[in-house]
């Protein structure tokens, strides 16, 4: 079964967007780690994670995201999330991710919010 995700990295002003295509599982770790390292090395301070609305995200994938959140906190970076289905917005809230990353309804809203804060 296909396990890889694709992460397209884009700059939107001061915001670095990770446009994540595919399922987010424990196998996503090396891809997210590499994308973050590159963005961090370039000095990004604002990071936006955009998921596919129909993406499958399991607890392994959430663990990888939590590790990413930990790094952004250590490096004083702000992180936002967009693109989630209503179900996964609920899951992320249950797990407590929303204490560290705001979930936005649209990418445009996310970029504007991150840029101004």
């Amino acid at each position: 079964m296909k396990q890889e995700i694709e992460i397209k990295v884009e700059s939107h002003g001061i915001v670095t967007l990770f446009d994540i295509k595919g399922d987010v599982t424990i196998f996503s770790e090396p891809f997210l780690k590499e994308a973050y390292k590159n963005a961090n090395d370039k000095g990004t301070k604002k990071l936006l994670l955009k998921f596919e609305e129909n993406a499958y995200i399991n607890s392994g994938g959430i663990a990888v995201l939590i590790q990413l959140l930990a790094k952004t906190k250590q490096n004083n970076q702000q992180i936002g999330i967009t693109g989630l289905s209503e179900h996964f917005k609920k899951i992320f809230h249950m797990v407590g991710i929303t204490k560290f990353a705001h979930i936005h309804n649209t990418m445009e809203e996310a970029v504007e919010n991150l840029s101004q804060s």
Binding site: K2, Q3, I26, N58, A63, Q67, A70, M94, V95, K99
Partner: protein, 193 residues
Amino acid sequence: MVIEVAFFMQGQYNAIESRLRIITLDIPNKPLALKYGETVNVMGEESEMVRMLDGQTIEVSLPNKLGYERIAMESSASFAKIIGFVSEKIEDLKTAVAEACINAIEHGNKARPDARVIVTMNYQDSLLSVSVKDEGGGIEEFPEEPDILQKIENLQTPRGLGIFLIRKLVDQVEFDKMTSEGHMVRMIIKMRG
């Protein structure tokens, strides 16, 4: 790979004759039609994968490999949709089933390639029951209650969220049910409430 499981019922839900149609959108790329009681080989697997045990019970046998929980997810979702569950409950069910299967694959069966995970779905009296059985000896130690602050500070493992999510998403769950063949987690979702 995407597997879509569609259930076509003749007459009443509990009709004796039911057809289970599985469409694989990968290899092989053609629909397979099953009659009641028949089994199917999917993706060249020697073992049967999905079968109907009776008019209200479906069994899915999964290879012990991460990723295959998707089959149980989609099967349970299709089953719940046919019964008439609302979308939100179906999504909750899918995640709970996925997490139970992942636990069975990783921890119950200890990632053994020769083991199987058996998922059994039954609908009766407005209750959808999904059991996930592995060949292991039960849960040795339940993970501690997840604390996001501790996880962010690296004081708690970022993993260990599966059981937490299952408890939050279904109406009732029983862990540590030992069977003659291993360990079973049984989840119940009520159609209403």
